[in-house]
Amino acid sequence: MGAYLSVPSWVRNLDSRYRFVLGECTECGGYTFPPEGACVECNAVGTLEPVEPAGTGEVVAQTVIESGAPPEFAALLDAQGAIGVVLVELDEGARVPGMLTDCDPREVARGDRVESVVRRIYEQEGIVRYGAKFRPEP
């Protein structure tokens, strides 16, 4: 019970799962992630054109989860002892949530530059889900 993401609902968003494909609003020029529904800047509907971002940006909020992870990430938390989660303002403009990887999450702070990289996210019903995470820019 609880939250559940079906395989079709994951697969239909693969461009955004792997590369953070955004929507650019043809009305106001604002960026929305994911590129569906109403523009987060002006609420216009049906105006989002897909944009391929560079996958780089700046951390605007950071946390390190040390307990209470939901079942899909419980094994990861056990293995790592902590899960770093950031909100990143992509260089194109949209804000996206992402998990930190390839680093000590306690060393990452607001204002740091990060880049996206495809990693294993979690496994559900025997199917591994892949998607983008963030790591510090070299």
Binding site: G2, A3, S9, F33, T63, I65, G68, L87, P97
Partner: protein, 389 residues
């Protein structure tokens, strides 16, 4: 628009009750609510019932409203379950207000119920995340505490909010809740203990987080004509506001404010013909310490970015200029998700009528409740005042 009166309100005890069911907890709150009315209410005279519940654990996801109202003898009464995450019963209360205003009901029930402590740890963690944005926010590995931790991280960076500011909220609310016999965590804490607690989602620690609780609450709303039959000591609902916003924090323009709170408060203040300076006391949604700070700012009790110093100044203490969370708040009183909104209203009812026992503060005439769903996807704000219009 017809006037609306709060003629009764009560909560069951909040806590962990393995011997109780969601139905028996609702029945406890309902019978207490009937007892809280000055006159005698014929339960079959309730025209409409709205029951808030998230359905944690999945025990009765479908028809959980009728399942509890039938249990208290309201078989046949129109009942609708309201789901708005943690704002479920604040939203249920608004439906009751609208029904009485519209003339569809002369007596309406708004309440809520949740049972959260009888499930396994794994199932609880699964359910705690269901009110965040599921497809992207949750899949980034965050938790409910994690989303509020992002707000705290941004608030600390943008406004200079400190660890001490956050922990002061916990110290105050635990001191208040220690005087509330219906609170889940009836103990006080020191600033040192609150500041040094184990990390949950940095920068939030255990004392920045409310507990998960079992409990129920019920409020009874009446038209003026019906209220006149039931009481000589009326509480009027002078303002009702509700707003929604993007469910995911990442899709909102600000990380340090909940826009739906401002929008709902504007509606409620406007209807009541008052401003934040006129509010004598408030029950605000402190699911996390940072949430109470942000609420004080978004409700207009202090300027944006200044809530840390505002709380530290003692302004929100029981003897301060505007007490906040005299009940102990979610932090100490507990947070049975669906029951929280009308639980806040039960505290306002008690305080305005001078029936709050050891935690009673005298001289309160106008109270406000603020109930948030998720990290701000839905917010309900209500303003209450003593006396007839």
């Amino acid at each position: 628009m017809r006037e609306v009166y709060l003629v009764g309100a009560a909560q069951s005890a909040f806590g962990s009750f393995p011997d109780e069911s969601y139905r028996s907890l609702f029945a406890a709150a309902f019978e207490r609510a009937l007892d809280s009315v000055d006159g005698d209410v014929d339960r079959t005279s309730i025209d409409e019932a709205y029951v808030g519940s998230l359905g944690v654990g999945g025990r009765q996801l479908g028809l959980s409203g009728p399942a509890v109202t039938e249990h208290v003898g309201l078989d046949g009464t129109s009942c609708t379950r309201i789901e708005n995450a943690c704002a479920a019963s604040g939203s249920a209360f608004r439906q009751g207000v609208l029904a009485v205003r519209a003339g569809a009901a002369d007596l309406a029930l708004a309440g809520g119920v949740e049972v959260m402590t009888d499930t396994s740890g794994e199932r609880t963690r699964e359910w705690l995340g269901v009110s965040g944005e599921t497809e992207w926010e949750r899949m980034a590995g965050t938790t409910f505490a994690g989303v509020y931790a992002h707000m705290a991280d941004a608030h600390m960076a943008e406004h200079g909010t400190t660890r001490e500011h956050l922990s002061s909220v916990a110290v105050k609310n635990h001191a208040n809740g220690a005087n509330n016999p219906d609170a889940h965590l009836q103990f006080e804490t020191t600033l040192d203990d609150a500041m040094d607690a184990a990390t949950v989602a940095d920068p939030l620690n255990l004392f920045d987080c409310c507990p998960t609780s079992d409990g129920a609450s019920v409020a009874l709303l009446a038209s003026r004509e019906t209220a006149e039959e039931l009481t000589d000591d009326p509480i009027r609902v002078t303002g009702s506001g509700q707003a929604s916003s993007r469910v995911g924090l990442f899709q909102r323009p600000s990380l340090t404010s909940i826009p739906a709170t401002g929008d709902a408060a504007d509606q409620a203040y406007d209807e009541a013909g008052v401003g934040p300076e006129d509010v004598d006391f408030a029950e605000v949604h402190d699911c996390f310490s940072i949430a109470e700070l942000v609420a004080c700012e978004d409700l207009g009790f202090c300027d944006a970015g200044e809530a840390g110093e505002y709380v530290l100044s003692g302004a929100t203490e029981p003897d301060g200029e505007r007490p906040v969370n005299l009940s102990g708040g979610l932090k100490s009183k507990g947070h049975p998700i669906g029951a929280t909104g009308t639980g806040q209203i039960a505290e306002v009812y008690k305080q305005l009528r001078g029936e709050a026992g050891e935690r009673q503060v005298d001289g309160l005439h106008r109270g406000l409740t603020h109930n948030v769903g998720g990290s701000g996807g839905a917010v309900a704000v209500h303003v209450f005042e003593e006396g007839w219009a």
